[in-house]
Every structure is written in C-alpha cells, then in structure tokens.
C-alpha cells in the first residue's frame, strides 16, 4: 500500500511539474525514477519510452503505466497513471471554470485572438517536426498525403484511417513491399 501511494505521489509530481508532455518529460522522468528512486535503470526507461511511443495513447501515461506495472503489477500501473493525470484534472477544471467566465471580457477576447495566432504557429511547428520524424521514405510520404486528403475531403472517420494504415503496413510486409 505504501509503495502504491509512493507511485501515485511521484507521478503526481512529474505530471504537475512538466509542461507539454512527450519528449519534454524525459529529463524529469530520469531525475525522479532513475536518480531519486532507483525504480528503473536509464536503459529500461528508454525502452518503456520507445514502447510508449508506438502504443496507442498519451506517451507520458503509457510510460507511467509501464513503470507502475513493473513495480507493483496492475494496481501499480493504475496508481502511477492516476498520479500522472491528477494535476491536469485539478488545474484544468479550475481554469476552465474561470476561462469560460472571462471570455466575455473584451480585453480577454483581444488576448485570446492574439493567442490563437500563436497556436496556429505552434501547430505549424508541431506538424513540421512530426513530418520530419515520420516521413522517411516515398511510401511513408505517400501514406501521409493520402491520409491528409482522405481526412480533408472525405467523411472517412479518423479511426478507420488509422486502422487502414496499420493493415496496409502489415500487408506490404507480408507481400515483401516493406522491409522492417
């Protein structure tokens, strides 16, 4: 029970002190889990992280579940994950309450319009970074363009496009069109 609580507390701290999730979380994870707690080795953490990136869901949550599971089984995974998401739940719930009231204020709405311009630039940044990482061949380029066009011009559900892409990869591998 004590260790479950410790898992919750540690991941609560990680979730509450890191901004942005994903890669920005790695230094914090190393500091808390490898250096302070000695729960995992750095190599194990990188392995979990790699798996966390190619399993569905939020990468930070996947890593938390992994470490928690390794320490204390399924309950450990659940406590670590709950710790990771608790700060978000608290902070966002409080902010959302105020934000929806503030939005009727004229100065806040000027600020929000300025922020939206920055979000557009940040999103451009995100998509360029992701494209550089995921488009590594003619095939992956074609898959990206087709998914883009399908999502833009057809009502094919997002979920279906992800499934089709995965099945395509496996078929291409089976037929020798894809080397991994």
């Amino acid at each position: 029970m004590k260790e479950l609580f410790s898992l919750y507390a540690t991941f609560f701290r990680i979730g509450g002190l890191t901004f942005g999730g994903g890669l920005t979380m790695l230094p914090m994870l190393t500091h808390e889990l490898v250096e302070k707690k000695d729960w995992v080795t750095e190599d194990e953490l990188l392995d979990y992280y790699a798996v966390g990136q190619c399993t569905p869901g939020i990468i930070a949550v996947n890593t938390a579940t992994f470490v928690g599971y390794k320490r204390k089984g399924v309950m450990g995974g659940i406590f670590a994950t709950l710790g990771m998401i608790s700060p978000s739940l608290i902070i966002i719930s409080i902010l959302a309450m105020f934000l929806n009231q503030w939005l009727s204020n004229v100065w806040v709405s000027h600020a929000v319009n300025g922020i939206k311009v920055v979000v557009c630039a940040l999103m451009l940044n995100t998509i360029v970074t992701m494209a550089k990482k995921s488009i590594v061949s003619a095939l992956s380029g074609a898959v990206a363009v087709i998914a883009f066009l399908l999502a833009l011009f057809t009502p094919v559900p997002t979920v279906l496009i992800v499934i089709i892409a995965g099945v395509l990869g496996i078929i291409l591998y089976k037929t020798g069109g894809l080397k991994v």
Binding site: G15, I58, T65, H110, V145
Partner: protein, 185 residues
C-alpha cells in the same frame, strides 16, 4: 447520464487510436463537434493554448477541458479516465511481452505506416485550426486578416530561430496575449 456514456465511448476510442501522443488527439478533437455539441471547432485553438501552457501532458489537458465543456467537473473526469483506460489495458498486455513487442515485424510494419498516416491526419486538423482561428470572421464568412497571418509567420520563424528554439510554448502564448491586447486584435 447519457452524456457520460457518450464521453466514455468517444474518449476511449481516442485513447485507443491516437498513436503518437498528445498531438495525435487533435484530429479526433476537431472531429467531435460534428457529432456532439460539447464545444465548437473554433474552441479547439483556445483549448490547445490552455493545454500547452499548463502543467501535464497535452492530451490529458485537452481531454479534461473538452470533458469539462461537455458536462462540468464530472465530464472532465470521465473524459480523462476514458482516455487513459486503453493505455492501461494495452500497456499491461505489452509489458508481459515487452522484449518481443518492440522487435515484432508485424508491430514494426504496422507502425511504420500508421505514423505517417497520423502525420497526415494532424496536418488536416492543423488546417482546420487555421481555418477557424484565422480565416473565419465572427459571422462565419471567409476573411483574410493580413496582420494576423503575417504575425503567425513571424512567430513561426521566431520560434525556429536557433537562439529562441529552447523557449517554452507558454512564452509564445504569453507574447500572443500581449500582442492581442496591444493591437486590439
């Protein structure tokens, strides 16, 4: 009660199919307003701004915010728990076979095509965010705000400048707020 069931179904699906972390949830969140009146597509940009500038993983922050808009505190809780449930299930299964999972050729081949597909999906979602935040006037008609578009390009160039690259997104969001107030955008 029905709204909680709907939140569970939608966010469980997002958790199961958003491969690649936080940004991968954006296409799904842009999709939701076509089926539910929890928030509008135009709200996604401010949701992103809040999620990027508060602690915690972006995907979790987005889910809490969307859930809150749909059904208050309980909605935020249900959406977030539903989003992480697939992760817990999948990771517990994968943890048992970790050694072989990473190297399994079927897993590798499936993800080698899923990753670029997700990039394409996010590109569509980003276009949608531009459309609603920059190119749509308050009455819903098309507009082309030269000042905002120029500012957006300047911000993009600035955040990729090698001396400014390390700056946190929250810094740029703060800049945007200041610009917005100063120029009464």
């Amino acid at each position: 009660m029905r709204v909680f069931l709907e939140l569970f179904i939608e966010f469980f699906q997002i958790g199961l199919f958003a491969v690649g972390g936080g940004p991968a949830t954006i296409p799904f969140l842009m999709d939701l307003p076509s089926r539910h009146d929890w928030y509008e597509r135009a709200d996604v940009a401010s949701m992103l701004a809040v999620s990027e500038s508060t602690p915690g993983p972006i995907g979790i922050n987005m889910a809490t915010y969307a859930g809150y808009n749909a059904a208050g505190y309980a909605g935020g809780l249900v959406a977030t728990l539903s989003l992480v449930l697939p992760s817990i299930i999948v990771i517990v299964i994968v943890a048992k076979i970790l050694e072989s999972f990473n190297k399994n050729p079927y897993v590798k081949s499936a993800f080698s095509t899923i990753r670029p597909a997700v990039t394409g999906l996010i590109a569509t979602a980003v276009l949608g965010i531009w459309e609603t935040s920059l190119f749509t006037a308050e009455d819903g008609s098309f507009r082309f705000p030269i000042f905002s578009v120029a500012l957006c390009i300047i911000f993009y160039v600035a955040m990729n400048h090698k001396k400014l690259k390390k700056l946190h997104p929250a810094f740029w969001i703060l800049c945007g707020a200041v610009f917005g107030i100063v120029f009464k955008m």
